[in-house]
Symmetry: none
Subunit: 219 residues, 4 copies
DNA sequence: GATGAATGAGGTTTCATTCAT
DNA sequence: GATGAATGAAACCTCATTCAT
């Protein structure tokens, strides 16, 4: 688990300021990537001095990680809402997919930040990030599938953890397809349609069929 | 489509040298990412001077892109072999999955380079790369699915292009899970097992079930 | 017209520092030309770091242009003083010539910088520079000649603008002859005397005769 | 006087090749200036290898100087023709001016090369160049004026060498005004007319009046 | 004579981080 | 707490020149 990466001074800052810094940081990091983001620019756009920024965060990496934590908590809370319900697993999947389709523009920067993380090269950092970000989500999926398994709502020869993994692979890929340059182009190459002009309903329907088949079918 | 990004002098170099430069380049770029890779280091490790490197490639970006083209052509030729056969689609899927499991270590750097690309931030470059890389693969998948569709081997209410897209999402994610730091950790979080110690057969079996259900099931 | 080429940070620097940087810059650029001048050297001699230099000027070219503006404003203010008087045109010419002879050592670097500009190869930059530098001077000369023309102090068949141009050609060449290596040697080849040992009075007298005849004579 | 700056191998090359190399060299140096001209490019455009270029010239500077000698000999031979005649000095001046107006386009590159030289920063080189280039011309002018002086064709209180110098200043400035970016813009600022659209006859007439007055008038 | 592959020093520019005020 | 001027290491890239063939 990632410990807090900000200094105490950051906690003491006003909520408005904290919000602003992380918002600007998320925007800059998601637009430019970690290397090309400029911490001096982030400070300026946040309306604080670079000196104060270093009173809040020891390094550029710490600011980056704090931005990630912020972004992920936002994404996770949306998922939380859906997964805690009592709906059947396919119903939950549908809601998650619709949420992705619907909110992908509003939260585009968070998702692009997430995409940035998935190509992290530092093994130690990658591990900490994965645990921070993937753990909560994975438990929700695994639990839901296990429950469905117990209720015999899904095929009985599936491995809940692997199937949760495959499911999340599909959802993660979809998120990126709505928000990240390369994945957007990839989407168009496969479907022939720009993702902005795609009928979301068609995507939802087809992906649900895919998932439903995957979870339900049994020879 | 990406045109060649190397200069004529590079073509004239010995095969051994060309091989060496691209091998070193792929290693450096996949280990450090584009920004943190150092051309001077690549030149030194390749046994040539920095001046000569710039006789071969006009910019760092051009070297990067040539490394990508090299990596992709290797990956694509493996896929080509499988997809051109007359097997049923699920048989092909199985072969592709096995190939991924089997070769993921040998070609780890290529796949990590591919992962690097998927978070490219330059829209123009992202588009060119997506077309170069995704187009050949997508046609193979779409064609195979369309053929299966015509033979009634798969459910008749699927959209071939979207299903090809979903299928590739699963395979792409699997590749990354074998090779890229973050994805490897993510895999372990979902499955509880480090990917290096995972029984490949279990992964193959489960993923095939997932795909088989997705393509076969019809209410 | 050239807009300012320095950043706001430069304006905020102390006058002493601004003065120092431009003085050193003018010296380096006039001694070595634009290409061979070294920004790191200018920074070091100015007593600031290279990083700060780039806080002040975005590029080497911007520093160069700011040096030029500084040099030209000094040269122009000397001319301004003379031209705004009510003297007859030949009296003004005499004063200008004497000023050139007298101040050519003190301002040698400015004049050599001006010389550097006159062989500028970038057409866009050349145009901007010419307008910045030549316009104020040209108006002064043309106006003076036009006034003399109106008073019948000069021959009535002259074209004021072309005669202003010829006059300035003579003065520009004289400036260079006092300050720039090639022109100094050229001067000696023509006159047989090194310009430093030449009796300025002789030059003033002869050049005034030349100009007086040019402006006065009428068949 | 500049000694030859080419190696013996260059003398042994075919006239065609020598011609080509110098022609290309003059073009590159006059277009880009000494620093920005690329000797490898000059070799390629001349149709020879860079290795051979260094068999012909020891350094880039030597090639440059040989180009200058070539360019100047062309310009000088045109002047030679005019000055050796028996015409009166003003007639000769008119012919020189007309030659400048007429041939300025054809020989633009030579003149721009000459312009490049006039801002040479190396004192030793500047001196050698000035002697090479200015000496022949200066003798022609000084001699002509001295002859005119003896015949009482010009005012008797002029210093022949200084007047020759002033005269050449006017002609040199005019040459540059027809060919070099900065000087062309300067011409337009003074006259209000682009030098390409200027009526040459007007320039000739006015400059001749200027010179005639300068040489003839006597209080 | 002729080639052109190969070298590598050196210059411009960026930006994370420090610290005096 | 807050500022922002100041630092300087490090990276990309150019091109005159060499030399083995």
């Amino acid at each position: 688990m990632i410990e807090k990466r900000y200094k105490e001074a950051f906690e003491r800052a006003s909520d408005e300021r904290k919000e602003k810094i992380l918002e600007v940081g998320i925007e800059e990091f998601s637009n430019n990537g970690f290397e090309n983001a400029n911490i001096n620019v982030i400070a300026k756009k946040s309306g604080i001095s670079i000196g104060l920024m270093y009173k809040y965060f020891a390094t550029k990496e710490d600011l980056f990680l704090t931005c990630i934590q912020r972004g992920c908590s936002i994404l996770d809370s949306a998922l939380e809402e859906i997964m805690k319900s009592d709906e059947k697993i396919l119903k939950k999947a549908e809601q998650v997919i619709r949420t992705i389709c619907y909110h992908s523009k509003k939260n585009a920067n968070y998702i692009r930040l997430y995409n940035e993380i998935t190509s992290e090269k530092n093994p130690t950092l990658a591990k900490a990030l994965a645990e921070e970000i993937e753990f909560p989500t994975s438990r929700k999926y695994i639990t839901s599938i296990a429950q469905a398994f117990a209720k015999n709502d899904v095929r009985q020869d599936l491995d809940p953890r692997l199937f949760a993994f495959f499911l999340d692979n599909l959802l993660m890929s979809l998120q990126f397809s709505y928000t990240c340059d390369y994945h957007r182009d990839r989407f168009e190459i496969y479907t022939g349609i720009n993702v902005d002009e795609m009928d979301d309903e068609q995507v939802v329907t087809q992906l649900l069929k895919f998932i439903e088949g995957a979870f339900t079918y049994e020879k």
